[in-house]
Symmetry: C2
Subunit: 542 residues, 2 copies
């Protein structure tokens, strides 16, 4: 055996912390004049964007912010939010992006739990932040972003803090910013939406951010100089790491304060957009834009969808409109997407409903995720790859979080047995692709039989009048639980509960047919996910 | 400051060694039926390729090979060589690919220094290996590869070893192969060609192999399912890590025993090749193929060139023939390519000679290389980015070798000051792109003035009769050294030394004009690099 260790240790020449921060330095050197960010009238190249990021790091350092400090941000998808993804960790600090649709109490909880030293906030969200600060123990330095594209009603808002541009003016673009000491150092903090209990603080590290950012390039087949439309909130899993991915590929960040159909079509056409991401609701918004406000696409746009499988009709309409769809799946705990529906060219020849069924599967692991399996959470045995046996989705690898901040019990439970327990229930097909059947807590147990709420939803989605549907358990004296469907109808279309129940009977086993149908607008999170816990409460009254 | 460490340590769920070996398992699961390797009549899919790799690992383990053992290979670019890139490290062992054109004494030295326990050898190279084994102390287990496409004259060769297929038959495709214990574990051993002194054993680790393999995808803009023609020897820096890159992207490995023009054109057309790599000599071989043996390309082929900048005329001819050229630069110590001439779209509009001049520059760091600079090797200060100040190219980052095996002094010298010293001299332009001017040892010092041999070569390349030229120092009593040019003329073209000297005078300062011109076939390494040390000896006699 040869000695491959002695005299062959890590040193400064052959080992550096993996970090996405160097992507910005590299692109600013190689393509300084390339367009980096577009937002209304603002068009900045990479030299300017890089300098603003380093100024931010420098100014934060002057205010005493350094390694391990938390900098919170309540911002929409505007250039300042992108700058925070570089400038904050370049100061050695940890970026905590906060969902802009949270209530004040939750924001207060997050500021306290994350120990925010600085809070960067957009005028539009100052009312809720003002209330949050009244409740919070944390007294962060307030930095106010004055975006000219913020709603007019918000322009007069202030929390009496320092202006973002004034802060940047204090910074030095020649500042020697802080490389992580170790690639395991925290880079960001993301609170899970927390449908029950307190939100948990998911800690990301530099290594994982680098690996998922690069992994996105492989999964999305993203070439150099993409034009990326920011439909996915950057506060959500750091925009699936695309603030780093797009920069690595010297692409254009096309900002978007709010996901509105006409704005998206205009920007796709004017900025020659190549890539975008979002939940199916973003697709619906695109498709439901009045024809007069749609624009011709300059070329095929790659749309990465997650959050729910794209329904067959939506998929067909998107493809007809010039989009290439890629379905991914992930969670906050795995940096956003870590599973991808790898498409096989030969599937293109299949009928539309078969294609949709194949694309509805969540798929296989990203290259950046080393392990993905469906397991029995009690025994940790792999479930058979039979397309039927239900188990829990488990993941392991370098794009799994460090853990939950200050919550050893939750971290230990999440990592029990050396795998991350997603809480999602799925089957595994003979070809190894997984398909979600439900969240553990969303399964409906009726007369001792498990009913997948997703299966019932899929059946109702086939009805031509149904726009959006969510099925939850409704307590039932006889059966324990029965399925209850909440339905949004398409504009200008009528249907009765009886009609939908009759339709469902044609597609589902009897015990899976919903006993109740409720027509209502569905409560959704800011990222477009339907809030089933709200519906479960409503179902009790239905 | 929030505590981002306590309770947030590495564990089996969130930290795995980076390794390219998992690429094979993933593609075999996701695309088992996809074509993986083509070699003559052999066409194997990824399920079969994966099973053969794991069988190899299993069989090696049965023969007692494990962690830290060296398995040497003397193989051309055939399927068995590709399998070694997975099967050997899957046994925990280290793959030592040996240049097939080395002499027996050097092969013996490498087998002894690397402590080879197994030697896998193709029939064609048995004569030299037989001699090497007579000289070597090492007594490796001999595994003989019987490639039907080996030259007829070699078919009867044997060293009395075990057949490769018999070895594989002993292996179990269900073998639980060995993940590296740490991503810093050695994966391969590559001896530098050693133009002077004994060859040095460059040790690669799993982490670097993963990162460069993925970095290649970004630099080459390689989509999914590429068809890769194996023109670059896999024994050379592990084929720049493309055995792992192509597999990560579920591509086809199109094997090639020998770089011959008609074979390359046939395979490019028949296998719809998308990517290939090589030295400029490969381009020349392609272009000089008789027209009758050329084929129409199915689409643009991406050609990554390294070893020397592509001359203007070759560049133009290649582009006219349907190739897209990407110029990269690297060394054995950095896994092959680690610097890339990132092209700017606006340069396409420049005249041909300006485009060639821009493409002649080596460029900027790969995303996978964290640091690249031109420094004064004494003071370690950065040289000015003025396109004129000559310094040494220095690199640092995760795609720099572990070090030289059993050579602490050489390792320490290479890593002095926390940077890898390449030994190449270069200038840095105001845009940060570097351009090689010479190897330290290739610089010519005439009357106290430095002369870049590359500058003299560039001038002579402009002469229409010159096919290949190499300039070296010739000892001179008066001047110390003067430039001496060795020239290969194009077929059927005539020129005299006086004519070339007169031509050089029009393009070079007087002291840089070669005093001697020698017409001769230039000695080249197996990877197409001109062996200047041989020419330096000949120059003394010229």
């Amino acid at each position: 055996m040869a000695d491959y260790e002695t005299g062959l240790a890590r040193n400064a020449a052959n080992h550096q912390p993996l970090t996405p921060l160097l992507f910005m330095e590299r692109v600013a050197q190689v393509y300084p004049q390339a367009l980096a960010v577009v937002h209304g009238a603002v068009r900045r190249n990479y030299r300017d964007l890089r300098d603003r990021c380093v100024r931010l790091a420098s100014a934060l350092a002057r205010h005493g912010i350094g390694r391990g400090d938390t900098v919170a941000a309540v911002l929409p998808n505007i250039p300042e939010m992108l700058e925070c993804h570089y400038g904050v960790p370049m100061a050695g600090a940890v970026l905590n992006t906060i969902n802009t649709r949270l209530d004040a109490a939750t924001v207060a909880y997050i500021l306290d739990h994350g120990e925010a030293k600085v809070l960067i906030v957009d005028k539009e969200f100052m009312p809720v932040v003002r209330l949050a600060l009244l409740q919070a123990k944390a007294k962060p330095l307030i930095i106010e972003v004055d975006d000219p594209m913020a709603p007019a009603a918000a322009q007069a808002e202030t929390l009496g803090g320092m202006g973002y541009e004034a802060l940047l003016a204090e910074g030095d673009p020649a500042f020697a910013w802080t490389m992580p000491q170790d690639e395991w150092d925290a880079i960001t903090l993301n609170y899970t939406s927390g449908t029950t209990g307190k939100p948990k603080g998911v800690v990301y590290h530099h290594r994982g951010a680098y690996l998922l950012a690069v992994g996105n390039v492989l999964s999305a087949e993203m070439g150099k100089h993409p034009s990326y439309l920011w439909t996915l909130p950057m506060f959500h899993c750091n925009g699936w790491c695309f603030p780093w991915t797009v920069t690595a590929q010297a692409g254009v960040h096309v900002c978007l304060r709010a996901v509105r159909g006409p704005d998206m079509w205009r920007l796709m056409a004017d900025e020659a957009v190549t890539n975008m991401c979002g939940a199916p609701i973003v697709m619906a918004t695109l498709l439901n834009t009045p024809e007069a406000e749609k624009r011709d696409l300059p070329h095929q746009v790659k749309f990465i969808v997650a959050g729910a499988p794209p329904p067959e009709a939506v998929l067909a309409a998107m493809q007809a409109a010039g989009f290439a769809i890629c379905h991914v799946y992930g969670l906050t705990e795995v940096y956003g997407p870590s599973v991808v529906n790898e498409w096989h060219a030969e599937w293109d020849a299949k009928p539309a409903h078969e294609r949709a069924a194949l694309m509805a599967r969540q798929g296989v692991r990203y290259i950046a995720l080393e392990g993905l399996d469906v397991k029995d959470p009690m025994t940790m045995e792999s479930m058979p790859a039979d397309g039927a046996s239900l188990g829990e989705v488990m993941m392991r690898g370098n794009v799994v979080m460090k853990g939950y901040l200050k919550d050893d019990a939750a971290t230990a439970a999440a990592f029990k047995g050396g795998w991350f327990h997603t809480g999602d229930l799925a089957v595994k097909y003979p070809d190894g692709y997984i398909q979600l059947k439900d969240r553990s807590k969303d399964i409906i147990i009726s007369g001792g039989e498990n009913i997948s709420s997703i299966e019932v939803e899929d059946a109702l989605y086939k009805h031509p009048a149904v726009a959006v549907v969510a099925v939850v358990a409704r307590p039932d004296e006889k059966w324990g639980e029965t399925p209850c469907a909440f339905v949004e109808l398409k504009p200008g279309v009528q249907a009765t509960p009886e009609e939908l129940i009759a339709f469902a009977k044609q597609h589902l086993a009897g015990f899976k047919v919903p006993r109740h149908i409720v027509f209502a607008e569905l409560p959704k999170t800011s990222t477009g996910k339907i809030q089933k816990h709200v519906l479960r409460s409503q179902a009790k009254e239905a």
